[in-house]
Symmetry: D2
Subunit: 340 residues, 4 copies
């Protein structure tokens, strides 16, 4: 047997641990493993390297991906899918393990329909795939966000200052919600529930009135204003997003203008995406890597690995890859209960 | 309404986050909250303090427990259960939230049978309660263990040395298994599967033969020898435990004697139990605290909070409290696959 | 004896450890200690609290300042200096320990000339005071910056991406230089040496040509362009600073435009200022706190504590407070040697 | 030019950063660099590898040593020194950079006398070399120790428990002193000042009497009892060291016996030695590496790099290598002031 592994989309903590586990388990079975570099882009160019356990042995705790990644989508290339299937034949691959988010897995599902023997492994630091309880990369990102917010809190309290902290999350607010709950944020704002600036301003004023100048507001980059049409003096687009500078910057300016209270912005961005994976992510990605090899061995192509409770189970790639999972009501309620 | 909260057994990361969430949610409902100090011992002595959100607001990331804890068991005190029920009446408590491991929750179940309005919150860094997918404190401990083992690895590799690393876990090997998987240990030994020293020695020798002198063996404190009777020159008891010095010390001596290879011991012990909780544990303990108050409000006494998949659900205290959960087969298999 | 302590300027890691050490040492001598809240602002309003060791015992590792701080300068208030001297008399203070950067210490020097019995403790995370080898807060900030850059590196390498990382430092580049050296940055740019965009672009192109797309450039917020007049299409001011968006943003845009290579910005800002102090800073601030009390006891007013080699020595407040220390030639040379 | 670098003695954080800086600086000058593996042992066997910057580029933050190390002393091998000088000629080395503690540097000094062109770089996590203000590895170890003690403190306080924490340090107490000061230990005991068990017991009893059951005692492994002859019931040797189990274990048993108060031991050992270096150690080791190459270039053989204040200066190998530096009086006094 000869299999290949590729990583698509943005990097996140745990990718190398998947590769390590795949190579180790495949070597147990006497299989050869190729690494396709730069995701689909590398597959289109047959940019591959051989992988031995020796090479990947020490990678369980190393962030990023030694296979490198890209956001190339073969659907947007002329004859992209066929080129990949051709290259797969030339490379004599018996199966391909695709590690990625909804885009990568959507391509994998399409290639499976076209005859490629594919197994998927879900990956997104956003944790917003409906087909699995958790994705690796998320727990690491939340821990990094909490560390950063714990740091900001000491400054907020020393100067009775408001901090608006922006974290990744376009449509789903998992990182903001977990980071907000875990860091004891005074308020957390997510895309699932559009907000009103006036209410946030009142909330901050009420806190100042109680002598609590220090305030930490955690907000997803994709949060939107519910009453954008009214507020809008040209700074917001039709979806209630600021045209320039990000939602945290916009909100901080509004708070400072309305309260005259010192208000700062921190955009956590890429800092929380990279770095060494947390223990949870190292274990999950290792289990996913082993499970992916087992799925190949059992001939269960067109599936992807998934965490359900404490079990790793296969789910259909086609049905699962693209379904987004928004924050569930209990977490939304928890966030509200914790506003203070 | 007037409720009380107590912590029993060993401290672990997340206890203060439970207290914080309980107080905040109870204040939402206008309830009064008492903190019982030193677990059942404090209940026997009515050692209580009032708790306001102001006091606990900043505790989500603080390790240990401000309520303090003890291992006192009222069953072993003359008239212990009655004293507690009496004190509960004197304090005019409408409900008691008991946060603890199987001992504490077993007492809570007994008190519920005797009429006390009790809700439980499971807590053990050992993660070995069958009634919940995860307990808080476990993820923090595993992250600390992985950090320590990552450190030890650099020394092991610089000197081609064997390290035998002992972590907590008397009957169940969760901490060892997760720490071993996450740190890329070369071998992990847990109580669920008694081991033979000869096989470990062969494993180490085989590695040295391949030029891999650096070896990390993670072992639960409760691991036992399968062939203790044969090995035993008086150093082991009838259960295959060393009489003195711990299992890691015993194994390291055997390895060094048999291989002549430099072998060291690291007992992680309390260092991984304490400290600031991980994000996962902060979120889980906060959700448990809120859920416990909801159970009180709904009158669902005699239950405890439990994590099932991504949901918090109530389970019966009597049925659940004392059932231990050993490592499941997939994790045991993962550990074996990863031996290298 | 009755003494007071105040913190001025931005918070940094170690302030609470100074307070703790001052209170402990003063209690050894049987003195009373007041904490003046909000720096000079609080002194103008006699906003003081009593301080006992019980209150500050556990603060050695706690970031921020429980005394809170402000940037108020009494020189800019009508009768500001006199008010402070009056309040000092009303509070019956025998001495005041002022912890702060050049602004705060400049005020302290002026008050000393006007008769106040003052001892200073230098504090700035910028490390740019000429009167001491190191200031506390700096080591903690550098460690946090290195942690963030270590994280960014994994993403840079996974995507062959350029990151421009901005850290604090208006006129002196200590944080950038140390963070750049310690994180293995490919290039570090500091205010001490104005730079040319063209040279940075050539540097990045040369790296890409060698197959090294991943590049980490660390830059101080106060870095300037040496040939600003030529480059300037209105985006730069007369000092070679971008009018909008910061120097990292400006440089990243220029690199991306000239190289067509994916280039991102990370502004570390307040995240690296706060949080629990490093061991180095905890020790230095504790030693400074004790030394400040000894200076009071010895009647050496008008001085401040200073680290020289491994010794704590007093230096004159007037001569020392305002002298800025730029990066020394060896560190500048080290940065250049490490460009690669 | 062709130079070699070797690491001797125990590993510590920063060794790889020295290697990286040496290779980079040597490549600037067009020199070839060999890595001698396993310290003097490898030199005796001519076990060398070529080193390019490509290989070491990413090692600034990696713990341990890729050159590996040993404690072999050529003085104890027949014809050891001559073999090394012979091998140096066969390898056509123009200079050797020796990175190590007093043993390694003592050998280097001897080889210099015998004609080898040697430059030294001091290394010990114990920080006890008189010829330099700080050695790299020390700051990292202290930070790890403080992290561990911060964790233990939460458990100590939750259970009103005494912890006796043992850290490395045979003759000098630098790690204990800095870790004790930085972690807010209630008592710190170092080899420089032999102690009496009775006084420690009184100290703990006095704390319990004040309602402070939680106590953290930090002790160097090499601490001794001052009145060993009196105390001794055969458990102590003539130097006041326990014959079995370590000084922390001995002290904890004495405290528990005398106070009946729950007392635990934590031996931090190798956990604090390894791992990724702190920013301070990364900068210092990089500066030392560059400086060592400059010393070679300037022909200043028989010297070693040294930190004096903020400067790197050369000192004589012969005079400096073996002089141990004990804790200075100010640090000893600081420890005493902080006992509480």
């Amino acid at each position: 047997m000869k299999i290949a592994i590729l990583n698509g989309g943005g990097d996140c903590a745990g990718l190398n641990a998947v590769t390590r586990a795949v190579v180790l388990r495949a070597e147990n079975y006497g299989w050869e493993v190729l690494g396709i570099r730069y995701g689909w882009d590398g597959f289109l160019r047959s940019d591959v390297i051989g992988l031995s356990f020796e090479q990947v042995e020490n990678l369980v705790g190393v962030g990023g991906t030694i296979l490198k990644s890209s956001r190339t989508n073969p659907a947007k290339r002329p004859d992209g899918f066929n080129t990949i299937i051709e290259n797969s034949k030339k490379l004599e691959l018996d199966a391909v393990i695709c590690v990625g988010g909804d885009d990568t897995l959507g391509v994998a599902a399409e290639l499976y329909k076209r005859g490629l023997k594919v197994v998927g492994v879900p990956k997104t630091m956003d944790n917003d795939l409906s087909s699995t309880d958790y994705t690796f990369g998320f727990d690491s990102a939340v821990n990094e966000a909490v560390h950063a917010i714990d740091n900001l809190r000491t400054t907020a309290e020393s100067h009775d200052r408001v901090f608006v902290v922006e974290v990744m999350g376009r449509e789903a607010g998992w990182v903001a919600a977990y980071a907000g709950i875990a860091s004891g944020a005074t308020l957390t704002i997510v895309p699932e529930e559009p907000f009103e600036v006036e209410k946030v301003v009142s909330f901050v004023k009420e806190r100042i009135g109680r002598g609590h100048g220090a305030t930490i507001i955690v907000i997803s980059e994709g949060a939107t204003l519910s009453n954008a049409r009214i507020d809008n003096d040209g700074k917001l687009d039709e979806f209630g997003h600021p045209r320039l500078g990000g939602i945290a910057q916009y909100l901080a300016e509004q708070i400072e203008r309305a309260t005259k209270h010192d208000t700062r912005v921190a955009v956590l961005g890429h800092v929380i995406r990279g770095g060494s994976p947390s223990a949870f992510d190292r274990v999950l990605s290792t289990r996913f890597g082993i499970a992916a090899v087992e799925l190949v061995r059992e001939g269960k192509f067109g599936t992807m690995t998934s965490l359900r409770g404490t079990k790793i189970v296969p789910v259909s790639l086609e049905e699962s890859a693209s379904k987004q999972r928004l924050l569930d009501p209990e977490i939304l309620l928890t966030m509200k209960i914790l506003s203070h």
